[in-house]
Symmetry: C2
Subunit: 342 residues, 2 copies
């Protein structure tokens, strides 16, 4: 990846976050006005109505549309995987990338089901990040390059971006990020991930605790934490979220790892995630806690905990349905339906 990407620094990324565009209030207001005229009791479509207004506000147009949704899956490897924090060997990251390319993973089927374009971004899998119990996971420049790489997922024409990841041991990185950004014991943020329990789960918790303690003194903001205890795929998600905001592309976040990456931006500016929706509440216990901190109610709650943007991609079907109602329904006047009696 490095040779295609210009040099970058985290300070440049900080400058981008300080200058994010806001919502298009006029488009949001047009959505609300039309919604009130459609043949249903006011508010009867619940969150589908909220979704439409949110999409209009962040696409900056009315009516909003989802014609070219993209699912972006970033894959990275983690030095801490060698510490035995996952139920699967680190080789599975690359094997699953091959599975994505061959069309055999869950996200492939889900992309077909919702008619989304799937892009898989493999990030130097043969060079895991450093074991962050001993050193920062990435250098400033490596982290900034990974962020810049993630920005490339936002290409002209796409109108909705579902973000997810693949990376053995990355729920350990996610837990470390959450613990660092929001406080609390490591155990509060650590969960089974792909399925660790017993001694392995205790090891995972100890790794998170040790990592946060080690780096606490040297960090000043979320980007520093991303560099110290994150990973390339998590940094890329941060980049994709920033680029999507600038390109007026609403974002759907997947599970614990993807949302923990997004939390880095929240820590810099809580408004930085206003164009992001959390697709679902993962079964990974830290995710519900994280969503509380972010103030983001999930759209779905199906006990999923797969990652690879599976929940985010599934949520595209709900967003499409919301927009279909908003755009296609008749108004009371058009349909000759009597309004509410007072």
């Amino acid at each position: 990846m490095a040779e295609e990407t210009p040099r970058a620094t985290l300070d440049e990324m900080r400058a981008l976050v300080a200058d994010l565009p806001g919502p298009d209030l006029e488009a949001g207001s047009m959505a609300a006005t039309r919604e009130a005229q459609l043949t249903k009791p006011p508010g009867a479509l619940g969150r589908l109505e909220e979704l439409t207004q949110w999409m209009a506000s962040w696409q900056g147009k009315h009516p909003p549309s989802v014609v070219h949704p993209r699912t972006a899956v970033f894959a990275g490897n983690h030095g801490v995987a060698a510490l035995g924090v996952s139920a699967y060997p680190a080789a599975v990251t690359a094997q699953m990338v091959q599975n994505f390319i061959a069309g055999g993973a869950a996200v492939n089927q889900l992309c077909k089901a919702v008619d989304a374009d799937l892009r898989v971004y493999e990030m130097a899998l043969e060079q895991p990040t450093a074991d962050f119990t001993r050193a920062p996971a990435m250098s400033d420049e490596d982290c900034a390059l990974a962020i810049a790489y993630g920005m490339m997922a936002v290409e002209p024409g796409i109108d909705l971006l579902a973000l997810g990841e693949m990376g053995i041991a990355n729920t350990t990185a996610a837990a470390a990020l959450c613990c660092a950004l929001f406080g609390g014991n490591a155990a509060h943020w650590v969960g089974p991930g792909t399925g660790v329990a017993g001694a392995a789960l205790e090891r995972k918790t100890a790794v998170v605790e040790e990592a946060v303690a080690r780096h606490r003194g040297a960090v000043r903001d979320g980007f520093d934490w991303l560099r110290c205890v994150g990973g390339r795929e998590l940094a890329a998600i941060v980049g994709a979220i920033i680029a999507a905001r600038r390109a007026r592309v609403p974002v759907v976040l997947d599970g614990y790892a993807a949302t923990a990456a997004a939390a880095v931006l929240f820590a810099l500016d809580p408004r930085a995630l206003d164009h992001c929706l959390v697709a679902h509440r993962s079964a990974e216990p830290g995710h519900a806690r994280l969503l509380d901190r972010l103030g983001k109610p999930p759209l779905l709650d199906l006990g999923m905990r797969l990652g690879e943007a599976s929940g985010a991609t599934l949520a595209i079907s709900i967003i499409k349905a919301a927009l279909a109602c908003h755009t296609g329904m008749a108004t009371f006047a058009e349909a000759g339906v009597s309004g509410k009696e007072t």
Copy 2:
């Protein structure tokens, strides 16, 4: 409708309910076996995995499929509408049926989004059922005919049936059914429906209380309650559920009114709804209570409260996605992905 339908009695319907087929355990087991081999940690797709096994068990085949889903919306009018229990005039039932036919309602857009066949069944709208605070809503034969009519929604070739309703004042009937079948105060089961509040909400509660008290002495089972405080569209939903079970078509129930209709069968035999899934938790407060009684966790929770099978139709997208994963994913062996360590 009467001239096309043979004479029927509620006792004939009782006999059908006493003789419902069970699940195909072998098909369910085949689904579980394949699920365990797919390239994901065990259980990582959460409820999507349960959905697949449930679909296999009730379609009686593996792999299960959804190629021809149908959304059936039954529309009926209620004598109690004249008592001012709804925020909308009774004329809206027929007007909304016209809107369904013209393609302007929410359910039309949702059916397009999930590629479901929409059928709307208009049930003698010009002849509302009797005001059930004064007399049974229907005669034994009228109720049985409405059930038989509902059975016609299950035609050869359909592989999933989403059930919903349209009927001004039918959340009053739904509340009366729930209060009668499960006990508790009327206020426990009565909610705003399309948007009543204040004096109208008190009136609605009083109507439910009065209706249940009036008929309590004369009923012996759920079918009697359906006849006394139900409605034609609710009886038709009962019929569609019975017919679907016999034809091995899994059912997706919509909101409060549709689920209250289904509860009539639950009261006769709790296993009678095992082939039914509740699509979503409606914002109507009685629905959550009803789902607790039925032991059915909803698939979605989006604050919807529109009826017209909108939630049930939306849930088809989730079921399709679940089956797509199950059918299309590679196994660990096919993809050359390493399994769980230990």
